[in-house]
């Protein structure tokens, strides 16, 4: 009986040690500082496929061509044909061929990605420097060159997310799967 007691006691002690270790790693000193609405507004620049987060502004391809000439052509080539870096235009209908050409027009499923990426990452030497209207305009230019919208279509906060990209249904959601395996 005495031995049983001891064993029981040590199991209890061991158990509480394990509990402490786990608790320690789950405990939080709660040092996060509340964010103000203004702080969130400044920080949160991401735009999902629903277009929530798009800023006020607008632009069309005619104006966008000028932005492109000034900011983009040296890397992305005339009319987005590429070289020295990625092509932005062309390849629509090529994805199932043996020479797929993956561009904004042929491969990108969402127009919001074009706006989001251009605003946060471009131009290479001066990211985040374009105004919201310039981003709308140059996005419109890329979509126009791909034949997705017309040259005078005024892209804005309300309609950008509605633009249907040719590869809108080209992605297979693998997020619930494990690693790809082959037999």
């Amino acid at each position: 009986m005495h031995i049983y007691k001891k064993t029981f006691l040590s199991v209890l002690v061991l158990g509480s040690m394990i509990a402490c270790t786990t608790a320690q790693h789950q405990a939080s000193p709660n040092l996060g500082q509340p964010m103000s609405a203004l702080e969130i507004k400044k920080l949160d620049i991401s735009i999902g496929p629903d277009g929530v987060g798009l800023p006020v502004g607008s632009g069309n391809a005619k104006l966008g061509a000028k932005v492109y000439e000034a900011q983009c052509v040296s890397c992305h080539g005339v009319k987005g044909q590429g070289k020295p870096v990625d092509a932005l235009v062309g390849g629509i209908g090529s994805l199932s061929t043996d020479k797929p050409v993956r561009t904004v027009g042929s491969f990108w499923p969402h127009p919001t990605t074009l706006f989001d990426y251009t605003r946060r990452s471009m131009p290479l030497q001066s990211p985040k420097s374009l105004t919201n209207n310039e981003v709308y305009a140059v996005s419109a230019y890329i979509l126009f060159l791909n034949g997705i919208i017309s040259e005078d279509y005024e892209l804005n906060q309300q309609n950008l997310a509605q633009v249907k990209m040719p590869n809108r249904d080209g992605m297979i959601d693998f997020s619930k799967e494990k690693a790809v395996t082959y037999k």
Binding site: H25, L31, S46, F174, A179
Partner: protein
């Protein structure tokens, strides 16, 4: 009795050999000499020296032993220094740079880990691979913070100073770029290069930091919050979406790498670690975690890091990295000096967790035998495998094949090619073949 002037002995070449021990230089890709033969040679010399020492004919004038030692044994060494560096004789152990767009974008591309020059499982911090999309930012930690916002009860900012007060955990995790080994899939003929050049977008560190779940609980994730968008403070604001389940499971906000503060190229002052998932998702220079209902579909989870299929569709959100292994010794561009004994050594890992087994073939996959897994075998870490090999001097095809705890096994290159678009390149975990030629040179090969 003291040996004073060995060089007077008739067998002068013997003493010269002793003073001039061969140094296996890392400059060349020479395989180390046959260790057994080396041992025999040393034994022979020791015996000979004993014989010399007992010979009265060897007693000479009273001289110091200085001339019998190399310069570094007879002069004081360099003074103490504050941060140690590798030997100058290891100057070629460095990352190989691949700029995606040349000098147009010097910070865009990759610096690859020279895996063929490393041993064990930990990658020295300065040699951890670096894949960046517009350079390494120079972040002042006192002006940087992590913000958690979106679908949470309490949007919060965390300063680095405050984060350093949280309880931490240390874990050994690999990071592999989803584009690692891409050249071996895309190039129609095998490119002749080192293992690091071909497969060096893999590294492994001891990371210390805060479980992301702790910070998320503090902010209070809403039931509608199913995804997290992680965003970096680098020039391109690199961003990726990942499911909330991973965030609560084993995601880590890492502040330390191999004991010291995380290196700038690895995300100083903090990075996200999603164990076993594609490197690009382990967002460096982390500044924001936004809880969302749906994935954001950023540039790097749509136009890149998706896996195109032959039918024109593409798999999106292929997060987990497949089971994989690479023989690092012998490997590409090395040369075996002669037939005889070699140790095959390499690394293996799996995005599923632990590596269960690594098999070796020396005849291109006809026969397989188990390698030994040497040292620690942690989940989501590199493991080191080893196998003895006696090379008979004939052409050989060395392969390794890892199997993970879920039973996944490395596929062949042919299986990958059949299941992916012609330009598919991500998640190449196919079996790597090193062809040993009759002259001992080691080449990259497709089988």
């Amino acid at each position: 009795m003291k040996i004073t002037k060995l060089s007077t002995h008739k067998d002068q070449s013997l003493t010269e050999n002793l003073l001039d021990e061969p140094i296996v230089s890392s400059n060349s890709h020479k395989f180390p000499e046959n260790p057994k033969r080396e041992l025999d040679r040393r034994k022979f010399m020791q015996t000979s020296l004993l014989a010399l020492a007992s010979s009265p004919a060897m007693v000479m004038a009273d001289e110091s032993i200085k001339n019998d030692f190399p310069a570094w044994s007879t002069t004081p060494g360099k003074g103490l220094n504050e941060y140690g560096q590798p030997s100058k004789f290891e100057a070629t152990t460095k990352r190989g740079i691949a700029k995606a767009y040349g000098d147009l974008a010097p910070g865009t591309g990759s610096a690859r880990t020279p895996i063929e020059k490393l041993e064990g499982i930990i990658t020295p911090s300065g040699l951890h691979f670096d894949r960046s999309h517009n350079g390494t930012p120079d972040i002042d930690p006192t002006k940087h913070q992590l913000s958690i916002h979106g679908l949470v009860d309490r949007p919060l900012n965390f300063s680095i100073e405050n984060l350093l007060r949280y309880p931490m955990i240390s874990r050994t995790y690999f990071v592999e770029c989803a584009g690692n080994s891409a050249v071996n899939i895309i190039a129609p003929k095998p490119v002749q290069a080192t293992a690091g050049t071909l497969h060096g977008l893999i590294s492994c560190s001891d990371w210390t930091g805060i479980p992301l779940s702790v910070l998320l609980r503090e902010a209070g994730v809403n039931p509608s919050g199913k995804w997290v968008l992680a965003e970096g403070a680098d020039a391109p604001g690199m961003s990726r979406s990942f499911p909330i389940e991973k965030a609560m499971d084993n995601a880590l906000i890492a502040l330390y790498q191999n004991g010291e503060k995380i290196r700038p190229e690895q995300g100083y002052p903090m990075r996200l670690l999603l164990p076993g998932w594609e490197g690009n998702m382990n967002v460096k220079w982390l500044r924001s975690l936004k809880i969302t209902a749906e994935p954001t579909h950023t540039k790097d989870e749509t136009s890149k890091y998706t896996d195109p299929l032959p039918n024109g569709k593409a798999r999106q959100f292929t997060f987990e990295l497949g089971v994989k292994s690479i023989i690092t010794k012998p490997s590409g561009l090395m040369k075996l000096p002669s037939k005889g004994f070699y140790e095959i050594s390499g690394i293996a890992w799996s995005g599923a967790g632990k590596v269960a087994r690594v098999e070796i073939s020396t005849n291109g996959g006809k026969d397989w035998f188990d390698a030994m897994i040497d040292g620690p075998n942690h989940a989501f870490s590199l493991v080191r495998f080893r196998a003895p090999w006696n090379w008979n001097g004939e052409p050989a095809f060395l392969q390794s094949r890892a199997i993970d705890e879920r039973g996944n096994i490395q596929p062949t290159r042919a299986a990958y090619k059949a299941n992916n678009a012609v330009d598919g390149r991500y998640h190449n975990n196919t079996i790597v073949t090193w062809a040993v030629q009759a002259d001992g040179s080691v080449q990259n090969a497709y089988l």
